[in-house]
């Protein structure tokens, strides 16, 4: 089966800092039903519609559809997508324990799935498990060193554990003597 995937998982933050990821639906295609026909379209419409709902902020609906999509998931890729999206969705509907279970299942399926580490790090952050969150971020960064999402998640962790206030000071002074030898002109 030829699988065309647009995205795998999503993390959406509503009202908080930044979205770590904003993924479109995963779409799969079934390329042959019989020898005469070829049907292209979402193989798992609940999964893709669920992802769309999560992206647009309809989290309750997104979770509902994605749960259905999980029931109909075929293959490892769809399974990971469904669980990863559920992890994100449960987090957004304030069900961190369910989110954690979903993320744990993804990682059982694929221990090298960096997005799941990112998602689970956010769940741990929500639960106040900062050390576990940091461990997942580090693991995710081992797998995907340049991930912007992991960088953002790490920033959220730092904001929780080590909050800071930005400060800018200004020091006015005349140019030094050697600079004055290269005088600008007063126009």
């Amino acid at each position: 089966m030829k699988i065309k995937a647009l995205a795998v998982g999503a993390i959406i933050f509503a009202g908080l800092l930044l979205a770590a990821e904003n993924a479109a639906a995963q779409r799969t295609s079934s390329d042959v039903l019989d020898s005469h026909k070829k049907v292209i379209g979402p193989r798992n419409p609940d999964l893709s519609d669920g992802a769309d709902a999560l992206v647009r902020g309809d989290f309750e609906r997104g979770v509902e559809l994605t749960e259905k999509g999980l029931e109909n998931a075929r293959g490892s890729f769809e399974l990971k997508a469904a669980l990863s999206n559920l992890c994100a969705g449960y987090l957004m509907v304030r069900k961190p324990q369910e989110a954690l279970q979903a993320c744990n299942r993804v990682l059982e399926e694929d221990p090298n799935f960096w997005r799941a580490y990112n998602n689970r790090a956010l769940v741990y952050l929500e639960l106040g498990e900062f050390e576990l969150s940091e461990a997942d971020i580090l693991r995710g960064q081992e797998l995907r060193p340049k991930s912007k999402n992991l960088e953002l998640t790490k920033a959220k962790l730092l904001d929780a554990t080590d909050p800071v206030v930005p400060n800018v000071e200004i020091d006015e002074r005349r140019g030094s003597a050697d600079e004055q030898s290269d005088r600008g002109t007063t126009l």
């Binding site: 800071v164 200004i170 002074r173 005349r174 140019g175 600008g184 126009l187």
Partner: protein, 113 residues
């Protein structure tokens, strides 16, 4: 960016009122979000000329400890102004420099949410 009128500049004083140019509006750059996220602090010294009308010219970075801060510092100077020189008055040409120090102040535990 934060713009401070001359009278409201705490801690920013002219070096020499005889001929040094008095700031009119001092723009304070915002802390770059990318640097804040990564907990990066730094310092930039920007040097420039000041026109008779009070606008900065030939704004350049003389020194910096991290590139993240250079653009905000240069933009802040470019948007700043100084008091113009009255007609007929001559002022020696000098190169002015302004140093911006970007630092992150920890929030004490008892002040956290």
């Amino acid at each position: 960016m934060l713009v401070l009128p001359a009278v409201a500049q705490e801690g920013v004083e002219p070096v020499d009122t005889d001929y040094d140019r008095m700031p009119a509006n001092t723009v304070v750059p915002e802390y770059p979000e990318k640097a804040r996220r990564q907990r990066i602090e730094g310092e930039v010294q920007v040097c420039f000329d000041i026109s008779r009308e009070g606008f900065p010219r030939r704004v350049t970075v003389r020194e910096s400890t991290h590139p993240y801060f250079e653009k905000p510092a240069v933009e802040a100077v470019r948007r700043s102004t100084w008091r113009p020189i009255p007609p007929g008055e001559e002022v020696p040409a000098i190169k002015a420099c302004r140093t911006f120090r970007f630092n992150l102040v920890p929030v004490p535990p008892d002040e956290r949410d």
